[in-house]
């Protein structure tokens, strides 16, 4: 992992978290859909990062989010879940020995792969997030609905952002 990638990731971390905390935190559609775009950072961590480091990054990211959302532990658990899904998905779909591309972006990996990857990660993250936040099964269907719509919203935002950067890279 070269220093340029590290720098890019740090910048991405700061920017995405700022967007999330300052802008998207106040955003919600009918109290039903809330986007959590910051997970894009976790999605785009370069290949070949050791698992422990991945988990630590996710843990710190989650903790930071929790600090601002006043929901200590909820985002942490969700991010950790996302990283687990990410590791499982990558180990299932990719060649273990070497990675041709430095990081799993839309431009590098192709539309199909990235959609599936982003979808699985998002849905697992949101499931943990919403159910931990609600913390009861009585509102199961409502929580599931919120989770579903938020996941669509997040996924849409993530792919939108990816397309913006995809185009820039191709230029």
């Amino acid at each position: 992992m070269n220093s340029r990638l590290v720098l890019i990731n740090i910048v991405r971390w700061v920017v995405l978290l700022l967007i999330q905390i300052l802008l998207l935190r106040n955003l919600s559609f009918y109290n039903l859909a809330t986007p959590f775009v910051y997970i894009l950072f976790l999605l785009l961590i370069p290949f070949g990062t050791p698992n422990l480091l991945l988990y630590l990054i996710a843990f710190i990211t989650g903790l930071t989010l929790d600090a601002f959302y006043d929901t200590l532990g909820v985002h942490t658990a969700a991010c950790v879940t996302l990283v687990f899904v990410r590791i499982s998905f990558i180990s299932l779909t990719m060649n273990r020995d070497g990675f041709d591309e430095p990081e799993p972006t839309l431009g590098n990996m192709g539309f199909k792969w990235f959609i599936l990857y982003a979808f699985l990660c998002t849905i697992s993250h949101h499931l943990v997030l919403f159910f931990l936040e609600t913390f009861r099964l009585a509102e199961f269907s409502y929580t599931l609905l919120r989770c579903f719509f938020s996941a669509i919203f997040t996924l849409f935002s993530v792919i939108l952002i990816e397309f913006v950067f995809y185009n820039r890279k191709m230029r």
């Binding site: 698992n51 988990y55 843990f59 929901t71 532990g73 950790v80 990283v83 687990f84 590791i87 931990l132």
Partner: protein, 278 residues
């Protein structure tokens, strides 16, 4: 040990996930008021459930004493009921005492040994002479039906000659017509739910499903339901009718019985002893 390490290392993603996820959950529960209260609540629910289940178990274990007390209460109530009935039963011609002094009292007893498979079945009950039980007293079922006669008595126990015994004969009548008969069991019949009423005079008409009750001529109080007629065409070869009846009580599940204490039994015996023997 080395293999274990290799195994853990191979699936390190999963183990890391477990560790970090657990930390996340712990943080969630520890630091958020809502989740904490919910957790405590659900814990309380679980604790409550456990206590409730324990209570059910305890209840079950206490069934014996509870049953005993219920049986005693039932006996008391039945005695009172009989006393009340006796007030207007003057028209039957039996002279009886008033409310507080009935002829018959019931004493509840628990069956501690029972058999139904033998030709001569004997029941043991947990009350004896200390409780006022004497030989030849009648024993009836808690619900409906007769059980037998007290055979031998020790201080705290008594044996009861069950109806399912060749020597047990109980005087019964058809409820409608008061046709007398004798209730016996086991003539070519080993079914403990069935018995025969013998020696009913031929001119009475007995129908299926007629109710047979005790006559009051044995030491049983009159009018205790015994069973219903299931077969009126039992061949006998003599001048009397026999019918087959289905007993109301189930001897196989007999748990509690009432011993009937007849206040005038001794008096009656003494009086009848003066009769010239034929």
């Amino acid at each position: 040990m080395r293999n274990l390490w290799i195994f853990i290392n191979r699936y390190n993603a999963f183990f890391f996930f477990i560790i970090f996820f657990t930390i996340g959950i712990i943080l969630t529960v520890k630091n958020n008021v809502y989740q904490r209260s919910v957790t405590v609540n659900s814990t309380n629910e679980i604790v409550g459930d456990v206590y409730q289940n324990m209570n059910v178990l305890k209840k079950y274990l206490n069934l014996g004493p509870v049953n005993d007390s219920l049986g005693a209460e039932n006996a008391k109530l039945k005695t009172e009921l009989l006393a009340l009935k006796n007030i207007d039963s003057a028209k039957t011609g039996v002279v009886k005492d008033t409310l507080n002094n009935p002829q018959y009292t019931y004493l509840s007893a628990r069956v501690i040994k029972n058999s139904i498979t033998l030709r001569n079945n004997v029941i043991t009950i947990n009350k004896g002479s200390a409780d006022g039980i004497a030989p030849d007293m009648a024993v009836i079922s808690p619900g409906q039906g007769v059980v037998g006669f007290v055979m031998d008595v020790s201080e705290h126990l008594a044996t009861v000659r069950s109806l399912l015994h060749k020597d047990t004969k109980i005087s019964v009548t058809q409820k409608k017509s008061n046709a007398l008969g004798i209730l016996v069991w086991g003539i070519g019949n080993a079914d403990f739910t069935k018995a025969f009423v013998k020696e009913i005079p031929n001119h009475f008409k007995i129908n299926l499903k007629d109710t047979i009750v005790t006559s009051g001529f044995s030491s049983f109080p009159p009018g205790i339901p015994v069973g219903t007629v299931t077969n009126t065409a039992v061949a006998t070869g003599d001048n009397f009718m026999s019918v087959e009846i289905k007993l109301f009580n189930d001897f196989s599940t007999l748990q509690y019985v009432y011993v009937v204490l007849d206040k005038y039994a001794a008096e009656q015996k003494e009086l009848e002893a003066k009769l010239p023997h034929e």
